[in-house]
Symmetry: C2
């Protein structure tokens, strides 16, 4: 059985999206800055259908984060905001389950990415994603609201944050409200790179 994971780039003040995110600006105002560490990595570029780029510890961490993912769960807003930006060949390459109130036919893209719309809630989306992932992990891709629902329900096993050296000041916080209970973490690693700090944790279940 795989893990349920979260892997996000975050500002030091806790934001994963800038203010006023939309289809025209999927990461919100200044949100691009959080992902800057990725754009020149060979592993990131390859996953987005581009050649070249750097091989370095950041590239390895990005590659590792995707390597064991067998399925993805995301919220409808994230899908709506980003589906255009992902284009014909989205970076997921696995089944994606979109939690939504609106029914819709599955969307199939190049490179084994399929988007399936789940209208029966985030628990049910996880059940379907686990079935699709088999022994591999299910990654909860965002946005912040859906990640917080999974945290509140105690369903996350591992979390990695890549802390970008910026205070964004406004936008969506990764941990805005996770149910008001404290959650003990066991740190798996902390890796310093020139642009970002990678911190990975396992959630300690009671």
């Amino acid at each position: 059985m795989g893990n349920v994971t979260v892997d996000m780039s975050m500002s030091l003040d806790g934001f994963i999206t800038g203010a006023n995110a939309s289809a025209a600006l999927p990461l919100g105002e200044g949100g691009d800055r959080l992902h800057q560490w990725l754009y020149n990595l060979e592993s990131w570029r390859k996953r987005h259908g581009m050649e070249g780029g750097e091989r370095n510890p950041d590239a390895d961490i990005f590659e590792d984060a995707f390597k064991n993912v067998g399925a993805v769960v995301m919220g409808r807003n994230m899908f709506n905001h980003a589906v255009k930006a992902w284009g014909d060949n989205p970076p997921f390459r696995v089944p994606v389950f979109v939690v939504t109130h609106e029914q819709g036919e599955p969307v199939t893209r190049k490179g084994d990415t399929t988007f399936t719309f789940v209208t029966s809630g985030f628990h049910q989306a996880l059940v379907q994603a686990k079935a699709a992932a088999g022994d591999k992990d299910v990654s909860i891709a965002g946005g912040a609201n859906i990640i917080q629902q999974f945290f509140s329900a105690g369903l996350i096993d591992e979390i990695q944050v890549h802390i970008a050296p910026i205070l964004l000041g406004k936008g969506r916080r990764l941990f805005q409200y996770i149910g008001g209970q404290s959650v003990e973490l066991q740190r798996l690693w902390a890796v310093e790179s020139p642009c970002v700090s990678h911190l990975k944790y396992r959630v300690v279940k009671a």
Copy 2:
């Protein structure tokens, strides 16, 4: 001229105090957990008038954080909540300026700690603290509100956070509202230790 610095233990979800902080519970519910990495360090114990403890990289980082501090600024709530816990021999050992609306006579304690009450605002507290610190740094000790006022006014030069492996879920966030503008940071170091991740940044001024 020294720097204006902030040095705080923080949960991964951004809290520096748990909920319902008071004089009876200065760090709030669960807030003690954020400082757990400190309590057995030789340098921390020495500063709190205790013997023994461990010498390790965490102890060095704690010692370094205090070494160049020539004066401290804090808010009235922090003073009210913690003055009893600090006792006769508070850990500061330098002049402390308390931003408050209530006038009061200075309070002198053992070990060169004096508390001076400043009723003319946080800018004026900083002026007095800088004069007292000379070439050394002024540390903005908290609580969260006063630190946010200093950030909003662009007055912080360096920030170090010690990220504890816990999601606290509620309490006071270090960066709840810093004025809505983004602030670029230059990371000075990231140090992994068994209990905590130390991240130190310089604020990039426009």
